[in-house]
């Protein structure tokens, strides 16, 4: 027997008690019309992805000497345009490249410079501000929502355990983690609702939680602590083995097939100071899983979807002494989806000769990563340029449209 679905119950009682037009739960047309049909998935690649290893500039005469070990497997990498080649671990995404559903942006960064701290770098990336946000915690995706008419809580979904500051702020957003679950026997669910009835905060939240978890777990579960414990452990184990990210992507796809237009989550593990060849391959497998899970599970909606993966900074152009790279500046962005003008590497290449580098060690960023994000929001949701340049990304000059979106 599935857990009681309180949301459904409330919907039905609302229909009895008031006119259908007044209930937000019963006006799917208004809902669909408001934010349009475009879907955006923002992925924060935490740890500092080495853009030079992911999108390798073999055409640059200095590249091979800077990366004697990391770039040695040129034969296995995937030529993109004669100048850049994709890391060998991206093989499963190459069909998307040929179909124009995969793209990269090279030599971009946030305005963050010099301290190269993950902590600050991610704060700036998610806040979308020119400098450290300080105690201001709201993120640029939330500020976008604040300016969008007719959004509801499920328009944007922050998924997973990491706090997604990029989506946090005063505009309501939905939150769920696929490793959170609510498996209750019918009697317990009933007693819980009874107990929460007179406390509005608990009453409303449990309704939403039962709704979300019921959607997530329709299979009949056994309500014994031992089973629950085993199930929780199994969930943890599955998430470890299949990649927590694939479960997150699957959950995101489920929501994006419904009322959700924006989803945000993290894919971690890019901080490859040592033995980068192994570390980055694992991380690229995970991001491949995420993108392919989204494509497979979104079905026709994939055509309206843009996946935008961003990181807090790139890494040093030279390999270090431990077959890895250290924190740098300019980095890369990964884009995927049926909505993008894929099959190309965007961005202005700064070169890798000593004089071209930032502080003689990092790839020089030739564009603000925020301008690519801003143009994406402009194209997908019709966001106003002035609003993008002052409120969503304060102090940004968007420049020319890079035409990322079809």
């Amino acid at each position: 027997m599935p857990p009681i679905n309180r949301r459904r119950f409330l919907t039905q009682s609302a229909a009895l008690g008031c006119s259908a037009a007044a209930s937000p739960l019963l006006t799917p047309i208004a809902l669909a019309a408001a934010p349009g049909e475009a879907r955006l998935v923002v992925i924060v690649l935490r740890g500092g992805m080495d853009g030079l290893d992911v999108v390798r500039p073999y055409g640059d005469p200095d590249f091979a000497a800077l990366r004697p070990k990391l770039a040695a497997d040129r034969a296995k990498s995937h030529d993109l345009d004669g100048f850049f080649a994709a890391h060998p671990a991206l093989d499963r995404l190459m069909p998307l490249w040929s179909q124009g559903q995969l793209a990269f942006v090279q030599a971009v960064s946030t305005p963050y410079r010099d301290k190269r701290s993950h902590f600050d770098g991610q704060d700036i990336l998610e806040a979308g501000t020119p400098g450290l946000p300080g105690t201001r915690q709201d993120g640029w995706l939330n500020r976008l929502l604040q300016s969008m008419p007719d959004t509801e809580a499920k328009t944007a979904f922050a998924i997973g355990r990491d706090t997604m500051r990029v989506l946090s702020g005063s505009a309501p957003v939905a939150n769920w983690s696929p490793d959170a679950s609510l498996t209750l026997g019918p009697q317990t669910a009933r007693l819980l609702e009874l107990m929460y009835h007179d406390d509005p905060v608990f009453r409303d939240t449990i309704a939403e939680a039962m709704d979300l978890s019921g959607a997530l777990r329709s299979q009949a579960a056994s309500f014994e602590p031992e089973n629950m414990m085993q199930q929780m452990q199994a969930t943890q184990r599955d998430m470890r083995q299949n990649g927590q990210e694939a479960s997150v992507a699957s959950f995101a796809a489920e929501q994006l097939r419904g009322a959700t237009r924006i989803a945000a989550f993290s894919v971690n593990g890019w901080d490859t100071h040592a033995k980068q060849a192994q570390g980055i391959s694992r991380a690229l497998e995970r991001i491949s899983d995420v993108i392919l899970t989204l494509r497979d599970e979104l079905g026709p909606i994939w055509q309206n979807t843009t996946v935008m993966a961003m990181t807090e900074f790139g890494r040093t152009v030279r390999e270090n002494g431990t077959q890895g790279t250290d924190h740098g500046t300019g980095g890369a962005m990964i884009l995927a989806g049926g909505a993008i003008r894929g099959g190309q590497v965007f961005g202005r290449w700064p070169g890798l000769s000593e004089g071209d580098l930032y502080e003689r060690r990092d790839l020089l960023p030739t564009a603000d990563v925020r301008s690519y994000a801003a143009w994406t929001l402009r194209e997908l949701f019709g966001a106003d340029v002035a609003n993008l340049e002052t409120s969503v990304f304060p102090g940004l000059s968007m420049g020319d449209n890079p035409r990322l979106i079809l």
């Binding site: 301290k115 105690t135 939150n175 009697q187 406390d199 608990f202 939240t205 939680a209 979300l212 414990m229």
Partner: protein, 457 residues
């Protein structure tokens, strides 16, 4: 106003436990603070400073590894580094275990609640490397010794602590006219100065300007921690000349000036108000009445920030104990108070393997929204109730509530007895009905723990 022992134990402590007596008055709670700190002795947590040598050795090993050309030697160094890192990383779970033991062993848990409060007020954790696992060692030496002392001493200890200097970027801040600036182009970083004024002392509504932040940053320039010699005021970073912060002059760049400036900030009337309000919001209500805040603030000013006097003002005021349970417990408070209500002992905590601590406690805390020792920013965990009661946050609380009794003890109490242990004899009808009508013991216990009456304090 009548003293309600059950409510007071939950509101100011970590809730009732069948293994401990209830407080009979505010004086009982205060005694827990003024008496010697038995819990710290019984369940020790190593201080951050005690690891300085280990951190130095580790950083030297990294250096050797980088400089070595011999693959065999590199491999050997890598293994040594890995082992040493593991030892240090294990400190986090050891300290978490000690923290939980203190929570269940203490009579009321008032001191442990204050630990959570003050370590949140002075939120800091190392940004990189194994030092990230040593946050509890910062709290243990900078916060805990001063919980029953003076605010100014806690402020000085926290602000000049290596972990804080790292967290708020002070280590690389150089006076604009310092040797480091003149010779190496380094400059001032205002981060710590700003947060000390904005978060730790006057509060964002306090009477200060950007110029005060800047001047205070010039006072602080010089503080730097190194594994080699610890925290020192460094000549090459210090800013020559006099500075004026909030009208007070500091003439000679030195650690003495830093301490003097911090003492002056601690004495500022806006600081008294800011701390009073934070205490009232945390312990009583998201919207505390002005009279309560004023009463605490006055005690702060009159006693020169003597914290037991400040707590006494909080406990004595009718506005603090007369209300119905209101604030939502944070996840860690919920976990600790559940363990106490279930009668968990330090023995139970000691029996948990590291893996079980992660699975039963750390992971659920993260899903509840409070990853242990990883608050979002220097302003610490939010106080707002609606931050915690989100769909996945509440679901995580309920799921954990259903499992915890089973995980912590084999012999489950009768839910009706447990109801009295957790909420006292006067629990509401709805909770009593739920506990009585649950199909199994563990569901009955889970429902009591998940009830608004237990979730609020």
């Amino acid at each position: 106003m009548q003293f309600d022992p059950i409510l007071a134990n939950a509101r100011f402590g970590l809730g009732p436990s069948p293994r401990h007596d209830l407080p009979l008055g505010a004086g009982d709670l205060l005694t827990e603070i003024t008496a010697p700190d038995h819990q710290a002795k019984a369940f020790p947590i190593r201080t951050f400073s005690s690891f300085r040598q280990d951190l130095l050795v580790l950083s030297d090993l990294h250096k050797q590894q980088r400089q070595s050309d011999d693959p065999q030697e590199q491999e050997k160094l890598r293994e040594t580094i890995r082992d040493r890192r593991k030892q240090l990383e294990a400190q986090q779970i050891a300290a978490f275990r000690a923290t939980l033991s203190r929570a269940v062993a203490s009579r009321f848990g008032f001191r442990e609640r204050l630990m959570l409060f003050w370590s949140d007020h002075f939120t800091a954790h190392a940004k990189n490397g194994v030092s990230r696992s040593l946050t509890a060692g910062y709290v243990e030496e900078a916060i805990r010794p001063h919980i029953n002392g003076h605010f100014a001493d806690m402020l000085k200890a926290a602000v000049t602590h290596p972990v804080m200097l790292d967290y708020l970027d002070q280590n690389f801040s150089a006076g604009p006219n310092s040797d480091a600036a003149v010779k190496h182009g380094r400059g001032l970083n205002e981060n710590l100065a700003r947060e000390v004024i904005e978060l730790h002392t006057l509060g964002v509504g306090g009477a200060y300007r950007q110029k005060d932040v800047r001047e205070f940053a010039r006072v602080l320039a010089g503080l730097r921690y190194k594994h080699e010699d610890g925290m020192k005021f460094r000549r090459y970073l210090r800013e020559p000349g006099a500075k004026t912060v909030l009208g007070q002059r500091y003439e000679t760049p030195s650690l003495q000036d830093v301490h003097a400036a911090l003492e002056d900030l601690a004495r500022h009337p806006d600081t008294a108000h800011h701390i009073a309000r934070k205490l009232a919001v945390h312990f009583v209500s998201d919207t505390p009445d002005d009279d309560l805040v004023g009463h605490i603030s006055q005690a702060f000013r009159k006693s020169g920030g003597h914290l037991p006097t400040v707590y006494a003002a909080l406990l004595d005021h009718p506005g603090a104990s007369g209300l119905q349970p209101g604030n939502i417990k944070t996840p860690i408070e919920f976990v600790m108070s559940s363990m106490r209500a279930l009668g968990a002992t330090p023995g139970h905590v000691a029996e948990l393997t590291e893996r079980q601590i992660r699975q039963y406690l750390s992971v659920p805390l993260t899903v509840m929204g409070q990853r242990w020792e990883q608050p979002l920013g220097p302003d610490g965990w939010p106080e707002e109730d609606d931050h915690w009661i989100t769909p996945q946050g509440l679901a995580a609380r309920i799921e954990w509530a259903m499992m915890v009794s089973y995980q912590l003890r084999g012999d489950l109490p009768d839910p009706r007895d447990f109801l009295t242990d957790a909420l006292g004899p006067d629990a509401s009808g709805a909770v009593r009905f739920a506990a009585t009508n649950a199909e199994t013991r563990w569901e009955g216990i889970g429902l009591v723990l998940a009830s608004p009456a237990f979730q609020r304090r």
